[in-house]
Amino acid sequence: MTLHFVLEGALVGVAVGSIYALIALGFALLYKSTKILNLAHGEMVLFGGYLAIALTRSLDLPVWMAFALAVAGTLAAAAALGFVVERGIMRPLYGQSLLSVIIVTLALGYIIRGLMVGLWGGDTRQFPPVVPTGVVRFGDLIVPRVGIYSAAVALALLVGFSLFFRYSLVGIAMRAAANEQLTASTLGVSLKRVFAYAWAFAAIAASFGGILLGLWLGVNFALDYVGLKALAAVILGGLDSIPGAILGGFLIGMLENILGAYIDANVTAFGVSLHGFKEITPFVVILLVLLIKPYGLFGTEHIERL
């Protein structure tokens, strides 16, 4: 493992990791405010990518203008999706058992993916050339240019989200509800509204992640897999910690691109080459983290009493 390999892996890892961090942020935010583990989050990523590409292609305008309109439209659609899911599916299930809610999110994922693949097919789809292709060189390190752009956008969004939660009224209400639901609701925070906003924000963060990944790699029916990587990031950081989710996203991105890629290319076990290990690195991380530190890096430890 040469230094060059590590540095290049770290750079690409940070770029991918920033997208994972954005997706994981939505995941952790939803969990923190509603205590729902949304296994349809990957499908929301898929939703963003597919819809943005379809809108960009269908608008008969200069590419950059079509792209900007498509992004705005996609984010509006994602927010609407979040509201509809909360009102139509999650609110009737409020107070139901953990398993029912998990299965409902899985079923929701089936529906979203089915609709997307049904409307636009399962093959890989690309954006029209919106951002310049090519690579950027730092000394002798090579990073795709798209990666730099998406990392910058993801970072800007992360900052934007944290400012929003720090200073806006809705953001403060959401943090209050996440901290202590009962107290917040007695102090006049509408929990229904907070849950609805949480779903909308989760859907927006996921869709934005889908758009960025779509710019970089294109989207196909397997994009929802990224949602599981974001899950790994969230577990690593601690399920109910938002800074943890962001840090976890970066860490997973780097682990995948340094350790995963190294094992992928160089390591053999029992005479079989471990080709494709990069794809399951996040899950190995999940297992190890859960066994060693079940509540992640920053998660609140759950202390039970009878």
Binding site: I89, Q96, L99, I102, I111, G114, L115, H275, L290, L306
Partner: protein, 346 residues
């Protein structure tokens, strides 16, 4: 509890605890067994449906013990099925042992692996456990792809019983039926005994159960081992039924289907997994049967036809969970209560 028929008095605990406690139930169960025995005569070429339902119902019984009764959520059930299938393949082809030995080995191997996978459940629970089992699922899939040659590649010989080759659907059905019924009855017996009560105590509140003298280590690992063992037996049967196995038969989607089966059927119910497996498999096949005719009716619909199954499946699951969280078993119970009391509402 439901209404007892008049004049049906229990005079011993054994009578009160019996699985089939009224004459009507006993007659009904005998009729059901008779119908199952005679099914090949009636079903003809649709017998494959019953074979598939039987195999997956066995797996679902295991998951219902683990998730429904012991409350440990597992998103990696089809990984155990895969382990059973490949263990069975290994024993019959590489070691050259007969099918029954392979079946027993698959059950035993998954029992041991299940206990091992269940160990972390002492430390992590709920959502975290669900995620850990999901990680186990993906890692198993990866191992299968990298050791057994990936997609659709492994050919399994036909099951042979004392030198007799089982080749047709009907022959396989009569091999499957005793295992299916025995598995179902074993689970029903387990659930009404000490083990079942301990598992339910663990589900409702594990620390409280521990205070009452339930050994958590023992019962949590037992729940995982039993659940995995059922899946392993189902996997072994599936391998010898389908004759070709590959990583694509045991994906996370299959694990989710298992969960759907027990939720649709009714979580903590003896009949639930059987009903749920029947429902899910008939729905799958039905949609496969209906979509081509739909496409000929509405040609514009053609491209959306393939994912139709996913959409309908998801919508049904959501609808069922919102309107009847108890599943099909609860619907049957309500229907029975309605008939018991008819024509009065209460």
């Amino acid at each position: 509890m439901s209404v007892r028929p008049a004049g049906d008095f229990k005079t011993s605990y054994a009578q009160d605890m019996a699985l089939l406690d009224t004459a009507l139930y006993r007659i009904g169960f005998a009729l059901l067994l008779g119908a199952l025995l005679a099914a090949p005569l009636v079903l003809g070429r649709y017998l494959f449906l019953l074979n598939t339902i039987g195999i997956f119902a066995l797996g679902a019984v295991g998951l219902s013990l683990l998730t429904g009764f012991a409350g440990q959520i597992s998103l990696g059930h089809s990984a155990f099925m895969a382990i059973g299938a490949y263990a069975s393949w290994y024993v019959t082809t590489r070691l050259g042992l007969p099918f029954l030995a392979a079946l027993a080995f698959a059950g035993a191997a998954t029992f041991a692996i299940g206990a091992l996978v269940g160990l972390p459940s002492l430390r992590i629970k709920g959502l975290y456990l669900a995620i850990a089992t999901m990680a186990f699922q993906f890692i198993t899939e990866y191992v299968i792809i990298h050791t057994a040659g990936g997609m659709g590649g492994t050919v399994v010989p036909a099951a042979s019983l004392f030198g007799f080759q089982i080749r047709t659907e009907t022959q396989f059905y009569y091999l499957l039926l005793p295992i299916w019924v025995a598995g179902g009855v074993f689970a029903a017996n387990l659930v009404r005994g000490r083990v079942g009560l301990a598992l339910m105590a663990v589900r409702d509140r594990d620390y409280a159960a521990q205070v009452l003298g339930v050994n958590l280590l023992q019962y949590k690992t037992l729940a995982f081992a039993l659940g995995a063992s059922y899946a392993g037996v189902a996997g072994s049967l599936f391998a010898h039924y389908n004759r070709v196995i590959g990583a694509e038969h045991f994906t996370i989607l299959q694990s989710i289907d298992f969960i759907a089966m027990i939720v649709i059927g009714g979580l903590a119910s003896v009949w639930g997994p059987h009903l749920g497996a029947g429902f899910v498999i008939l729905l799958n096949q039905g949609l496969r049967y209906v979509t081509p005719s739909l496409v000929t009716l509405l040609p514009t619909f053609a491209r959306a036809a393939t994912p139709l199954r996913e959409i309908v499946f998801g919508a049904l699951l959501i609808g069922l969970l919102i309107w009847e969280p108890g599943g099909l078993a609860m619907l049957f119970r309500k229907l029975k209560r309605y008939l018991d009391l008819w024509p009065f509402p209460h």
